[in-house]
């Protein structure tokens, strides 16, 4: 009797979850089918799900609107460097804040947390000023005047992403759970702090590093506001900045926009499929959807 009740409950929950999943997937499915329709079909009053005419050529047409290979490369490059550098420096900082006792450690960590509480829109202009007036780069003199600094550069795109303190917070919370006896044992064996970090903590950090990589990658790939502000040149655009090109004054070219959106989402979708466990872990650990 007990097992029958359990099975009924299991099936009921499964059905509810299945229906919820389908509902969540509907926008993506509609976007996909819209990407295959001719524009005239989308502009008619009648709402159809499946295209009457399947236009796979929309994807090619969408990719011709601008230098999409370049935009993809820019986004992939910025995301990769951001993830790699963030993993290194955030894990190091997290380790130091969690495992190394030093004066002002708590104040430093609190300062890092403060940074997380301030919306990026508030710091956008000061950050822009700092990067535009970076001395001796982009034609700037020693006082940071006369040139464009780090505008329209990969560094300009990457630096603010790696400067964020979210990764430090995540790693610190992870490393703080290790027992003190691990450090004691390492010390007894003659391990320096840095050696302990590389030889003991890093091998044990796969979950947090995978989670951080996934969250950073999805956040950087989806970022819109900062690339909009720091880049003016077409060759430095990222995929998110390139998408609004389909929204024109005469109207939105919905089919091409949806096609470009699907192409833009594909890398993240693939990443999610292979690393969904870490996506969920990240949400659970931090409560942040990224």
């Amino acid at each position: 009797m007990k097992s029958t009740k359990k099975n009924k409950g299991y099936y009921l929950i499964s059905v509810i979850m299945l229906i919820s999943s389908v509902i969540m997937l509907i926008p993506l499915i509609m976007a996909f089918f819209t990407s295959l329709k001719p524009l005239s079909e989308i502009q008619t009053n009648a709402t159809t799900i499946l295209p009457k005419e399947w236009m796979w050529s929309n994807y090619a047409e969408a990719m011709k609107e601008g230098n999409w290979l370049r935009y993809m490369y820019n986004t992939a490059f910025v995301t990769t460097i951001t993830v790699v550098v963030s993993l290194v420096i955030n894990s190091m900082a997290g380790y130091a804040l969690a495992r190394i006792p030093f004066k002002g450690r708590e104040i430093l960590f609190f300062t890092a947390l403060l940074g997380m509480m301030i919306p990026p829109q508030v710091t956008m202009i000061p950050t822009f000023l700092m990067l535009k007036r970076m001395p001796l780069v982009g034609g700037n003199d020693i006082f940071g005047m006369g040139g464009s600094g780090l505008m329209n550069t990969y560094m300009g795109l990457i630096l603010p992403y790696i400067a964020g303190s979210f990764g430090v917070f995540l790693c610190r919370q992870f490393y703080i759970n290790f027992p003190d006896s691990l450090d004691d044992a390492a010390k007894i064996d003659g391990c320096s702090r840095i050696r302990a970090y590389f030889q003991i903590y890093i091998p044990l950090s796969k979950p947090v590093l995978a989670t951080l990589a996934v969250i950073k990658a999805s956040g950087t790939w989806s970022e819109y506001l900062w690339p909009l502000v720091i880049t003016n040149k077409d060759y430095m655009k990222t995929v998110q900045i390139a998408l609004p090109a389909f929204k024109q004054e005469t109207g939105t070219i919905w089919n091409l926009l949806m096609a470009a959106t699907i192409v833009t989402c594909l890398p993240l979708l693939i990443l999610f499929i292979f690393a969904q466990k870490y996506f969920i872990e990240g949400i659970v650990t931090t409560g942040i959807k990224g």
Binding site: T44, N45, T250
Partner: protein, 436 residues
Amino acid sequence: MKSGLKMSKVLSMLIVITMLASLVMTGCSKSTGEKDNSSKAEVQQDKKVTLTFFGLGQLKNEMEYFKSTIQKFKSQNPNVEFEETYANDADLNTKMNVAFAGGSAPDIIYTSISSTISRAANNQLEPLDGYMSQWGGKDKFLERNLQLGTYKSKLYAIGLRADPRVLLYRKDFFKEVGLDPEKPPKTWEEFADYAVKLTKKENGQVVRGGADIPTTNGSLFLAPFIFQNGGKIADEDNDKLTINSPEAIEALKYVADLYKKGVSVVHDGNKLDELPFVKGKSAMSFTNLNSYITMTTNDPTLKDKIGFSASLERKSKAAQSGLICLSITKDSKYKKEASNFLSLMLSDDETWSRYQTMGVIPIKSSLQDKFISDNPKVNQVLSDSVKVGITRPRTSWGAVYMNYEKAAYEAVVVGNTSAEESLATLEKNLNKAIQK
């Protein structure tokens, strides 16, 4: 070992101090640096100049036109380089806000009139009155165009592209219900009467609207009716809201009563590409030329079935008209070169070229006759509409006004609030927001 540790600590401190010092230097260098640059610019007249241009990039052919004209200008002025940035309206505003706040404002901007006027109100733009003699004098331009680019008696923007909303109507639907297809409505009463006659209903549902009356985002639809009735939305000279007037109340009541007669299909007034008229689901619509182009591109047989008419008239004529303008920024270090560029853009040759290549309505009074004679059926209507064009309020609060008017419109048209109460609430809430 100990001395090694001490050295590395000293080294770390030195690195931190250097980094902090460079940050402080960049932060403190603003005023001296910029003054030096401006004085240098005056001396460097014959040296390389880079003009920064921020422009709307929502039309592919327009961007291509700008690029080719910039090339033309560069060939005429070899010492001038251009840095161009194109983006849609919202993104361009974001980029400009950051650029102005960061002290790297562009030299020339090409953007919507509402954005331009709000920048004029924030003292970010250069008054253009002194440059008019270089551009041929004020009488060469449509008077209304210059009025719209004026803020507190100073000219800050020259409209380059006007986008008036005209009355498009289906001649075939007119014939169906016994109306003369060559006689579109000219007055409010005629418009309401025609709308009712042209409405088709099945089982109580509107299957073809007599006219497009927006369900939401109806501000740009309502505004011409207020002006036609002798009212005004704002006293622009004094930056004050004046919409709570008997004329505006009457206009809002008229629109709401017409909507409640069930003459329209539900739609969003801001989405011109999704208007019921464009989808063949209504008989009349106040919309722009792009709607006609979209419809006839999708169905060429509609070319002879769509009629054009200018604005309705009551106490005066008025037509909603979008306007994209050129301006020079106040902080530009190369105002002379910027003015030279505007001189090229505003020349008769370039103005006519824009009409021929992109269908842009010429904003020069000297070209109106030529424009009308090129396609009298359509261009007469467009020219008349531009001459009585109205835009969003050209005030310091113009950008926030639309949200409040949206709520006021919907409360009356779709809801049960009276026009008097709704406009009184709009006035109270907007004045509170302005004071903040």
